[in-house]
Symmetry: none
Subunit: 226 residues, 2 copies
DNA sequence: GTATACTTTAATCAAGATTTACATTTAAAC
DNA sequence: GTTTAAATGTAAATCTTGATTAAAGTATAC
């Protein structure tokens, strides 16, 4: 069954949830602060993380960002009532869903199952993302155009990987910066533009002039399905 | 059950703890100074070390560093109240957790179990880590490429072991330094680079030109499954 | 002590990321 | 339509990080 990591400073609540989730057939590990949680994510092979937003020390948002530096694991956030700002912030930083605290365990389970289902549906074979002729292998960090390898640098790969994951939808430049470069976009920062330029060049060379990355002025970029 | 090594100069306290931990199902060996403790670590097959920071002669920090030269065994440190500096220093030097003295035996047991659980999550099957043609035997501290042994130094082994444990995911250079060398990465520190260079050379020689260690620029390294 | 194996530092080169600079495009205001 | 300010594309310069080799420092065994 699926392995969950529960990060919450409230030990009592965590144990209660753990008990309930275990009964539902999940394997649950708990961590009671953000830093420990992060280490667990890197070490253990979990399928999903449940992360409390409000924690002393390193809070949930920061933990989420740190986790996203290294891992694409689905994250479900536990948030205080009506914290819509945090909700939006978290979704931008890569959270997969939200549940309000205090929560009905049953709802929590339903959302966990929904995310896990979505996850496995998203990625059919291995970890390869296929968009038309373009194949992005997250596992090997390699990219192909119709089986022909394209050599990308590390940052270029991160960018095309993000675009490929969200193929068909628009990703903001801000998002690209945070997720691929690990820092927010500042004024006059042209890094993303330059990297995208190189990526387009390389894909164009490999494909014979195809441009799969579309610019949406003042909104972002999207990888188009041919 | 798990075998613990308790290193503490306070004979009376040590015996008390030993008794309690034994009742909890652990097998406990005691040492009353750092040097003796170190020898025990190297000699015996322990699962975890409980180490007092304040000891006459060689103190706990030094003992920890010495242990980390040769072993990745989990270490839980016993520290004086509010010694946050030492706490940070110790974590940087590779301690797995902290407990304040005087401590509730029950909390100690909980933390021991937490560390051991985390540890076993790291190593799911047997003790040999197999990644493609590469076999890393933690027990014997030996490495093979398709049954052909490769001779690694102690540090090289620690590095490839860590990478193998996290095969398929990225490990930061900072993490490698802390876990393999037992110290944080400082500016202009090229040690990890040099060791990785040697490791690559040896694996390449043994395999006939294969490079299994991938660099992710400014992020870290990962062992790829071929 | 001396020899040996190992680790770290130093130095150099190569690869990658970011900034700069300028051309071009876009959308809105007039 | 024309103008304008902001946003984007891209080439080149600059800065940062990684790879590799050799040399210097450390520890260990004999």
């Amino acid at each position: 069954m699926s392995k969950l990591l529960l990060i919450d400073d409230d030990v009592e609540l965590a144990n209660m949830l753990k008990e309930f989730l275990t009964q539902e057939g999940f394997t649950v590990t708990t961590a009671h602060d953000g830093l420990t949680g992060e280490q667990y994510v890197l070490a253990g092979k979990f399928d999903l993380v449940i992360l409390d937003v409000m924690m002393p020390g390193q809070d949930g948002m920061q933990t989420l960002r740190n986790i996203r530096q290294h891992s694409d694991i689905p994250v479900l956030m536990l948030t205080a009532k009506d914290d819509n700002e945090g909700r939006i912030e978290g979704l931008e930083d890569g959270a997969d869903d939200y549940v309000q605290k205090p929560c009905l365990p049953r709802e929590l389970v339903a959302r966990i199952r929904a995310i896990l289902r979505r996850q496995t549906a998203d990625m059919p074979k291995g970890n390869d993302i296929v968009v038309g002729q373009l194949v992005v292998s997250s596992e090997r960090r390699k990219v192909f155009w119709a089986d022909k390898p394209i050599v990308f640098t590390s940052t270029e790969f991160s960018l095309i990987e993000i675009l490929a994951k969200h193929a068909g939808t628009i990703v903001s430049k801000e998002d690209l910066s945070i997720k691929a470069l690990g820092r927010p976009l500042v004024k006059y920062d042209r890094s993303i533009d330059v990297h995208l330029s190189s990526i387009r060049q390389k894909i164009s060379d490999a494909s014979g002039g195809v441009n799969v990355i579309q610019t949406i002025y003042r909104v972002g970029y999207q990888l188009v399905r041919e």
